[in-house]
Amino acid sequence: MSPSTTLGTSIPLPVFVAVPLVTAFLLPIFSRKGKTGATVLANLATVSLLVLAVASVGQSGVYEIGKWSIPLGINLVLDGLSSLLLLAIGVVSTAAMLFSARYMEQYTAKAKYLSLFMLMVAGMNGVVLSGDIFNLFVFLEIASIASYALVGFGCEYEELEASFKYMVLGSIGSIFVLFGVALVYGNTGSLNMAYISKAIQSSGLNAGLGFALCLFIAGFGLKAALVPFHAWLPDAHPSAPAPISAMLSGVLIKALGVYALTRVVFNVFGISISTGWLLIVLGLLSMVAGAFLAIGQWDLKRLMAYSSISQLGYVVLGIGLGGLIIARGGNLAWASLAILGGLFHLLNHAVYKSLLFLTSGSVEMSTGTRQMRQMGGLAEKMPVTRATCIIASASIAGIPPFSGFWSKLILVVAAIQAHFYWVAAIIVFVSLCTLIMYLKVQRYVFLGELPENLQQTKENKNSMLVAMIFLACLCVLMGLLVIVPSLRSHILDPAVKVLTDGLEYSTKIINM
């Protein structure tokens, strides 16, 4: 695939932002009686986004908004990494929207919920497509503000507290990013990522740009909930309605945090040995701390939220390891392997963590509690939820042949090849901790004695089951993405190449 020859794509890129945005503003028109119509419309929008994302795989192109050529105007860029993220957002939002069709009947103001949901999707799609750093900030804020509101959607004690905490830390993160953008503009005189990158290459990093890089790492790190910045996540993700937890843990922290971080570090500033080490340390800290904190939890969703921090550590570790090898001038094949592991884990985590949150929502809706001590013996009452939960748990713990096994295997192999034996040991160890925490979930939720008050528990129906089964099938089949070469060369390899190419990004975009 040679991006310099393919000028445009067959898909006009703004539709990824326009479809959810238009839907978001159409939805509040529906009155309380038109709830069904609103649900159908929102589901149509997410499904069409998924179809578009699948169609965009393997393509690359640039779209100039309003025909203003760069660097004067804003451009949208589709490359391997963007389409990987678009795919993840499409899959998770489709499943979460299908799930909310029934789950959100418990809440009032469903149309408003759907509208905020679509705004969040619009923001995330915008972030992964934008080629302009200030535009990226704007989309980041759209997605963040929608998610703050969605976390507090229940308006109960816990939800409001979690939402406030999330909003304060999220806003500080956004302001850091804006400050970074201002510093970058002051030092390079451009807002387009390709031109910034070119200016940095010719002038080198000065103190102002170095400070901007620190601000970006802190700001996006806050959004990604890497360990020193993770305080908000274990409160915010469990308090949100289950489909929103799935969206937040599944894609929001990745699109706003990990994606933006890697784009800025790899393609704009260029990876150096110190930033590579920084990413590795952040990743390892998140993995270990997240796993230890998760094992001690008794709240089902809180346990899953902590394990999200831990799993996100794997992604950042893989990407950082690859970056370090590149910066040292090491073997490019090993670097590609480490980055492949990280990105594949990102995609896997999006699928199985959203599935886990959906099953937790299904359990919560049937039993009315999230405390694992008050549950037990649900295996017979809720067979489908149980089966899908086992598949997701096996995936996240890395049991072959489920998807999580492959990405962890790749990471371990990459770490060993690069002679980071201790990193490989930590990866295996954290994987074991993950297995323990999900065995705990199985033991206390689905096995054991059924408490008196839960005798009447029933399995949930219709769309909730469809959403869970859809994701469970993906969990089983995702391993094919690395095993089948043609799938890998279409979906994962272009994304890896974007990162290994690093600063060549600017030349590609400018010549396009």
Binding site: F134, V138, E141, S144, I145, Y148, A149, G152, C155, E156, Y157, E158, L160, E161, A162, S163, F164, K165, M167, V168, S171, I172, S174, I175, L178, F179, V181, A182, Y185, G186, L191, P234, D235, S239, L293, G296, Q297, D299, R302
Partner: protein, 122 residues
Amino acid sequence: MLYALCFLLFVIGLYCAVVKKNMVKIVIGIMVMEYAVNLFLIMLGYRIGGIAPIIDRGQLESGTNQITTAFLSSSVDPLPQALVLTAIVISLGSLALMISICIRTYEKYGTFDITEIRRLRG
């Protein structure tokens, strides 16, 4: 010097947001940070004695080259102003949401003190 003062304002806002116990004061701290960044953006494009970045028709008639060099050396940079306008609108949106959550929290808990609003643990 001015940049240092602007950064000081940013740090004061950050301090206020991190240390204060009252929810409304935290919100004020965040807004102070936001304004410090906006001020910084405006200062980037500012030029002492600069003119508005607009060329009117009367100027154009007296030779284009001459005008552009004079214009480039004396006008302020309009781009940061556009950025700040966008940033202000965004911060208005998040301010409105923050304040409404503060109000709802006060209705539930009867206090703005975050040390007393602690139901989430672990």
